[in-house]
């Protein structure tokens, strides 16, 4: 697990504290019961704060899993 994955895992755990650390990398809107629209906005804002990035409005609804958010962060060279 690299630094970005670790920090993204912390972001997920702050929004979905019920997730076990081993479950985070497989988390998605369909697998996490509490992943509703509010949780999604919380997650986007926490990720933006942590990585100092801005998620474009058209991408917001696409980032529905840990994997997709990780991919977005790598694409945007977040650090």
């Amino acid at each position: 697990m690299d630094d970005i994955e670790k920090r993204l895992t912390d972001c997920f755990r702050s929004v979905f504290p019920e997730l076990d650390i081993t479950e985070v990398s497989r988390a998605s809107a369909s697998s996490v019961g509490s992943w509703d629209s509010i949780a999604m906005l919380n997650l986007i804002s926490v990720v933006e704060e942590e990585f100092n990035v801005r998620v474009p409005i058209e991408e917001m609804e696409q980032l529905m899993s840990f994997e997709l958010i990780l991919d977005f962060l790598r694409r945007t060279n977040a650090h």
């Binding site: 504290p17 906005l41 919380n42 804002s45 926490v46 933006e48 704060e49 942590e50 409005i57």
Partner: protein
Amino acid sequence: MKLAEALQLAREPREDGIPFRVNLVCGFAPLHLETFLVAHLSQCNPRYRPVVTGGLYGDCAGNLERVSEAECDGVALVMEWQDLDPRLGIRRASGWGLGDQSDMINTARLNVGRLVSAIHKFQHVTVVICLPTLPLPPIDVVPGWQEGPLEIAIRGELSRFAETLAALPRCKIVSGQRLDAQSPPADRFDVRMELAAGFPYRTKHASVVAQCMAQLLAPPQAKRGLITDLDDTLWSGLVGEIGVESISWTLDQGSQIHALYQQMLASLAESGVLVAVASKNDSTLVRSALARSDLIVGAHHIFPVEVSWKPKSEAVSRILKAWNIAADSVVFVDDSPLELAEVKAAFPEIDCLPFPREDPEAAFALFGRLRDLFGKEVVTDEDLIRSETLRRAQDLATDRTSARQTEDEFLRSINSTVTIQIEKDAADPRPLALVNKTNQFNLNGTRYNEASWSAYLNNPKSTSFVVSYEDKYGPLGKIAVVAGRKQGSTFLVDMWVMSCRAFSRHIEHACVATIFDHLGVEEIEFMYKETPRNEPMRDFLTALLGSPSAAGRMLSRSAFSRLSAFIPPVKVAAHG
């Protein structure tokens, strides 16, 4: 505070905390603002378990009108321009034309009036208001670097609104200047999130707004005393080296920052803050320096003046004893890091602040910090006489020691009068302040906020005595509060506090006598609970009852009448 931290704080409320219900009123989706408000309230007062509820989207005035005062302890109103007229927001595109302008002003005026009417209904809870913090959209025809007539008119409506609210006793307005300092205006508006989710604030701005509101809803206890160094702090220069005439505090001599510091101390002293001096110096020189007529802080503002070559912590200890207040209510200011460290080591609870004599920017920031630490809502009559009262208390102590009289004979000789006002008026801020900052003579340590205090007084069964005192050494002002409920022939004392300035005058005996005489009860039951600091109360109850424990906290009229202690004359004032 970052959102991740706020989410964690909001998720972990203190289970045994006092519920503190806040109604968050706004016209946008509260989202992170709600989370941050819970988190900051938890930090502002760790004893609270905040519960924040919101209203309907897009209906700020309606949400305010629907708040039930009985179901909340505070109201947080966060306004944005669209609450004055939806056309001033960006989620509606219904016209920025010239023809719309006068209608926008009229609509803004109507909505402001509606908010004022809704706010007027709150009699017992604090209403905290954050005026619009986001940029107005480009509605005027003038370029953005020019104030347009519409913008001036809208801001005028808002300014009159703020002026009206500021005059209401339970309304507090978030400082625009503080918001600007902590959240730069250009970094506040999240247009993207406003369009996507109806939440217009960037997370950092949401945190700053919530923090300011939490500080107003659950304000920290104001500090009560400031102990200052002299050389290179109150004035520029070492008086022992350059002499009384050469120390300075003027613009011409490059020492204006010391003049401003003196001015700050004078202002604090006039608002009831105790100011004392702790200096390693020659006492004769200091006496002469403090007698200089151009000193901005007057000698009458300062008590006591502790000058010696011994460690400053010893001087601080004597000052705390003279003031009779706890170290955690005190701030110590000195230019020497060594002295600050020495005092901090002896009194970890004291806020020790460096005086940055060579850094004007830092000195200016220090003045702001002092105002934050000592700031208060109102200056009471007691604030105005506090320092003088302590001076007189010292005279009284000296006379008491030198008098060849018994305690009772001495008290009979000082022409004392206790005045007891039977009061149910929650608007008087002094009783609540006494209740919440008195630790030593305190029956059980129960604290109240404005809403719970008001609710207690409004209970038809409750009675409260607000006690004032005066003797030949001068008035002490309102120094005690007794509150309780009559049940048959018994009076249950729920709360009893008395300022430490009023000890040793038998005012507490006068309070007990008044309960028996004025309320006509046969017994008094004290709802005593031991706290880490209420030893004086325990000692009094032990002397009165034999024991303050649960088994022996009942005092009968006959038992009290057998006590032979002197009771000062009491005047009972009409019901307030």
